[in-house]
Structures are given as C-alpha cells and as structure tokens.
C-alpha cells in the first residue's frame, strides 16, 4: 500500500516539532560489574530461581557429562547441530550404550514429525551468558537451527564460564549478540513457563519443560 505509506509518513512529518532531547546518560547504571567468579554465581542464582538445572563440567569432560545425563534421565534421542563445534565434540565423544545422537541436517519439513513427537532433547552451544539477571545468549542459524532449543521437551545448553558478560547491554556491546550475524538471536533464562492461571507459576507450557546448562569451568586461576 504505497499510498498508506506516503500518507502516514506525511502525517508524521507534518507534526509540530519538539525540542531536542539530550542523549541519555547511562552512567547511573554503570556499577553493574562483577568478577568472573561472581558472574558465574549470579548467573546460576538468577537461572536456578526459574528452575534451570546445572551440570558442572571441566573443559575436557563436558561431552561425557551430557551423555551421562541423557542416560540417567532416559533420553533416547538427542538432537544436535552436527556442524557446530559443540555438536562435533559431542559426536566424537559418543560411545556404545550412549543415547542416539540425531543430527539436525535436513530441512524441518522432512523431519517435523520426529522433531515434534519423538526427539527427547535438543543440544546447543551458546554465544555468551548474562550475569546480572541470569540468561543464555544464542544465535541459531545454519549450524544450530532455530527449533533445536525450542521443540524438544529438554534443552541442554553448553555454557563456558569465561563467556559470561555482566549485563545484556555488555553482551550486545562486547560480543555483538543480535547485531546481525544470524537471522534469529535468543536470550533464554529458563524452561518455558506461564503464570496465566491465577498467577501460579507452571513450567513447560509450550517450549522445553527443562533447561539444563552444562557449565564448563574454563576460568583461569
């Protein structure tokens, strides 16, 4: 509707001018800064408060932790992005008796029924974490499709402690989260939840019922 566009913009341009508003000064909020170890504590506190589960792992043994978790919890099929760094590491670590690792490598249309009705868990890496509120930052794309962290009932996410930023603003600034590397970017702080019935919290409404963070301690010293 080009005429709608023209008309709307003309109306907006015809509006009375207003005085300029000085650029805001965010320095009042600048004191949200923590040490790397404190960031881990804060992130866990924030995310555990909304039922996120944590598995502690070392840089070399995290794939084993993920596979053992799946075994323990009876997850038969774990979906992953076979071309992502984390996905490759997991595929390499699988041994007989471990759950089946299902590569997400076909367009969803060929795979939708299994995705919705069979897969027990999805595994993704993360770009960074947010200490202030708790939260994981993801950038789904060709290597890790969008629905990997949404449709399966359990989402397992790999987070390296060294990638936790102080705030969401810092993550945007320092890591360029959401600035356009991928067509989708996500902040995830816990399993799907709702409070629409009498403000009573219930988990697992539409997205994953469980969020499990594999927290890799890669802090030096």
């Amino acid at each position: 509707m080009p005429e709608a566009r023209t008309a709307i913009l003309a109306l907006l341009r015809a509006a009375d001018a207003m005085e300029a508003i000085p650029a805001p000064d965010p320095s009042g909020l600048a004191r949200r800064a923590w040490s790397p170890a404190e960031r881990v504590t804060r992130l866990r506190k924030g995310m555990e408060a909304v039922h996120t589960e944590f598995l502690e792992a070392a840089p070399e043994d995290w794939p084993r932790q993920v596979l053992d978790f799946c075994r323990r919890e009876g997850v038969a099929d774990l979906l992953l992005g076979p071309r992502s760094g984390a996905g490759r590491a997991l595929l390499a670590a699988r041994s007989p008796g471990d759950p089946e690792l299902v590569p997400y490598e076909e367009p969803v249309e060929n795979f939708k029924d299994a995705l919705f009705h069979r897969i027990g868990a999805g595994f993704t890496g993360t770009l960074a974490g947010v200490a202030e509120t708790g939260g994981l930052l993801l950038e789904p794309g060709p290597e890790e499709p969008r629905l990997l962290s949404l449709v399966p009932p359990i989402h397992i996410a790999l987070l390296r402690a060294s990638t936790i930023e102080d705030t969401l603003a810092a993550a945007i600034r320092n890591r360029g989260w959401g600035k356009g590397r991928t067509n989708n970017a996500l902040l995830i702080s816990g399993p799907s939840k709702t409070a629409d019935i009498e403000q009573t919290l219930a988990y697992g409404v539409h997205g994953p019922k469980r969020l499990v963070v594999v927290l890799v301690d890669d802090l030096v010293g």
């Binding site: 009375d16 009042g28 367009p107 969803v108 708790g134 356009g180 709702t194 009498e198 009573t200 219930a202």
Partner: protein, 478 residues
C-alpha cells in the same frame, strides 16, 4: 474496539463490575501480587530513577525521529528479507493480512500475543473469512475458548480463577478431565496447542520493539508460544503500532529491563526472541516468509500534538493498571476497550474520540499512582486533564478526535449559572445567604448534586459564608 457494537458505557459497566465479589477478589489478589513483585525488583530508588530516566529518554528520542526511524526500519527489514506493509486503519491491516494468507492458501493461523491484533479485531475478521485464528498464549487461549476479550494487557485471563478455568477446560477440551491443578491444566493446553503449532499454515505475532538500524523485531515472552508462532509455520506475519520503533539494539536492553520488571516483576523473561529475517541461506528451519505490518490507527494524530505525544512512549508493561485503584476495583472489561486502565483511558479516547469515550476520562481520581510507576514517565493524569477540557471545548488549536463533543447541556447550563452568579456580587451574596441559612434543607437529589450524593454523604455548607464572617468579625491579623 467496542465489545459488542453497543455504545460503550464505562459508568454502567463499572457499576455492574463493582457488584461482582468474585471478580473483585480475582483482581485484588492479582494486582496485590503484581505490585509486590514489581517493588521487589526495584529495591534501590536511585537505581530505579536512573533506569526510568534512561528509558524515558530513549522512548522520547525515538519518537522525535519517528518518521526517519520508520523509513530506516523499512529499509533494514527489506534488506533482511522481511516484507514491510503500511496500514492507515485496522481495516487496511486486516485486509492486508487476509490477502497474504489467501494467496498462500493458509487457513490455520496460530497467534502469539498481540494487543495490536486485538485492536484490529483480527480474530473475528479472519474467522468471518474462513481462517482459523487460534490464540496460543495460555491466557489468551483461555479467554478465546469462552469468546471473551483480555481484561489485562499482560495477563489477559486475570479475571478468572482456577475453578472457572478448570470447568471451562473440562467442558471445551476433548478428553479433558476436570482438575484444578494448574500444572495439569497447563499440560492440557500444551497438548492441544502443540498439535496446532505442528499443523499451522501461518503464525502471527506482535512486536515489543522494532530496531531500525538492523531491521530486527524483538519479542518478549515466557511461554515459548511466541517462538513457536514465529519459527514453526512457513509464514510469519508480525503486526506493530507505528510507535514501537527504536534506533538500535543497544537501546532495547534498558527498555527490556524496565518492561519485564514493571510488568510482572521479573528481572528477565524466559525468552527474548530477536527476529532479523526469514529462513536464510543454509538454514534448515524458520519461516520462508516474514511480513511486518505497521499500523497507524490514529497514532499519527496523537503524534501531531507534542503535548499528547508522550502517550506513544508506552511500552505496554501494564504497571499503570496494576497500581490503579479504579482498575483494581472495576476490572479490565468494564472499560469495554482493548487497552484498559490508565493508559487505556488516555489512549482509547484519543483513538476513538473523546466524546464517545467521555466517561473514561472521568473514571479517575487523578491520584497519580500510574504516573508514579510508569517506566517511561508518561504524565497520564496531566494528559487526562487536558483531554477532559478538550472533550468539552471546541478549541481551534486542538487536534483531539471528537473535541467538544463530550459537552452536555446540563453541564453547560450549570457553568452558565455559575458564571452568572459569580459575576453579580449581590446575587452571589443572596445565594450564599440562602445556602448558609437553609444549609440542611438542600435536597440530596438535585440533578447535579445527585451524581455526588448517590455514593457519598451530602455536603453541608458552613453556618456563615467566609465573606459574611469577615465583614462581621474583621480579619484578626490585618
């Protein structure tokens, strides 16, 4: 939008709502909870002030550059593969969306929560045209089952308690057993809606913030139904009011922090979903097409007046309703409008006309609780007062929709009488003499006095007027 096409009558609907103890209890409990949770998120007043200053400045500066930002948004979205459409009216927007669905043979639409789509009456319009439009936000799903509209912009089913919802689910969901267990009720909805996401031809969502420089649509949610609606079906249509645009993603971070804390007392929601485009090169999922519909529906008229423009700063957190003594008592449906509560009281009359919605302008004690909690400092009471005047005055400078049409002959007559008496000192003194001498005899059901005395004690004038006493006793310190 009016609920059933009848002339909206806030006064009558409020009176009815006040007589419903269940409704009042449901709202009281919910609003008390929301207020406490919000307060817990802002323990430091200095910090809250800094956050509000920042949020207010970001929104005000975005509005200052609104036409440029919208053009930039359009260019960025187009570059990313999001197709942008403009609509002056709800009819235009609805028509556009139906056209998109029809061309693609889509008959099953799943919806994430969108207040703009409520404003457009989209569901009714699509159903009437053979498209199933299913709400997937749990609260929206609950009220859609009953053919109701939201009573709160964040918690649409807050007027219902669990027993009411349990009975409704048992009745309307196939194979459902009666249960009041919230987890089980949630699981029932999940079961039904998962299949709907699975088979949907298209998804529709609102937009919390649209980022101009990167062409990104930001969606804030807890349930994941927004992600389902925007990433599973092959077609995603997003609708937004034209005021939702900001310059950069950096500006979204502080607004998001204010939104979640003010709305539900959460430091962070489960999901913040940034959509920059449809399924790209090498991607295995995501919609094949993404469309953005930018709706005006009276917003450009509000924008035209710098004094009213602050209305458009709103980030739809709902804190003003949670803290409003009127909203808490009468509930959201009494407003018979898409946006209830304080923000609705200034928004609805500006969109639909101050005459048609005159009652709403006066359904406020001007206590200022709304302005005190508004994260972007919208001066709701000041705007209300301005609209009250312009509703009854056909000022040449005013661009308010329906200005002057709220005037009634009774009000007109009483102001004339008032002016006549005050311009004539002898008449004024005579009136005072009668009022003070026969003060207890004033009938409580005088035409205008009655509006006051139906719910309050009859005012009794003093024994002597001030003027009379000064004349007799002199001024003690003069």
């Amino acid at each position: 939008m009016q609920i059933d096409g009848a002339h909206p009558d806030f006064r009558a609907a409020s009176a009815r709502a006040l007589l419903d103890p269940q409704l009042r209890a449901n709202f009281r409990r919910a609003m008390d909870g929301l207020m406490a949770k919000r307060a817990a998120q802002f323990p430091d007043p200095a910090d809250l002030k800094a956050m509000r200053d920042l949020g207010t400045a970001i929104r005000a500066r975005s509005l200052l550059r609104l036409p440029e930002l919208l053009e930039q948004l359009e260019a960025s979205c187009t570059r990313n593969g999001i197709q942008v459409h403009w609509a002056r009216t709800c009819q235009e927007a609805n028509g556009k969306i139906l056209g998109l669905l029809r061309t693609r043979g889509a008959t099953r639409l799943v919806k994430g929560k969108s207040m703009v789509s409520e404003e457009m009456g989209l569901n009714h319009f699509l159903e009437a045209n053979g498209v199933e439009a299913l709400e997937s936000d749990l609260g929206e799903y609950i009220i859609q089952l009953d053919g109701e509209t939201p009573s709160h912009i964040i918690m649409p089913a807050i007027h219902k308690n669990r027993n009411q919802i349990a009975r409704q689910f048992a009745q309307k969901i196939k194979d459902a057993q009666f249960t009041e267990d919230v987890d089980e009720l949630t699981a029932m909805a999940r079961r039904v809606l998962r299949e709907k996401f699975f088979e949907a031809d298209a998804g529709l969502s609102g937009v919390n913030f649209a980022v101009a420089d990167t062409g990104t649509l930001c969606l804030v949610e807890n349930e994941g139904n927004g992600r389902m609606s925007t990433h599973v079906p092959p077609l995603h249509i997003a609708v937004m009011g034209l005021e939702k645009v900001v310059g950069t993603l950096e500006e979204v971070a502080p607004l998001y922090a204010l939104l979640t804390r003010s709305a539900t007392g959460q430091a962070v929601t489960t999901y913040l979903n940034l959509i920059r485009g449809p399924r790209g090169q090498g991607e295995l999922d995501g919609p094949r097409e993404v469309h953005l519909v930018i709706l005006d529906n009276g917003r450009s008229r509000i924008y035209a007046d710098p004094g009213l423009r602050a209305t458009l700063r709103c980030i739809r957190c709902g804190a003003c309703m949670n803290h409003c003594p009127v909203y808490t008592r009468v509930g959201g449906h009494a407003y018979e409008a898409v946006y209830p509560g304080p923000i609705g009281k200034i928004l609805t009359p500006q969109i639909e006309g101050v005459g048609v919605r005159h009652d709403q302008l006066h359904g406020s004690s001007l206590c200022g609780a709304c302005a005190e909690v508004c994260p972007v400092r919208i001066p709701i009471p000041e705007i209300l007062v301005r609209l009250r005047r312009e509703a009854t005055h056909d000022d040449p400078g005013s661009r308010v929709e329906g200005k002057g049409t709220g005037r009634t002959s009774a009000e007109d007559l009483s102001w004339r009488l008032w002016a006549m008496v005050l311009r004539r000192p002898r008449l004024y003194r005579t009136a005072c003499w009668f009022a003070t001498r026969f003060r207890r005899l004033l009938p409580a059901d005088l035409p205008l006095l009655k509006a006051w005395t139906t719910a309050r004690a009859r005012p009794v004038p003093a024994r002597r007027s001030l003027q009379e006493r000064i004349r007799k006793e002199g001024l003690p310190h003069a």
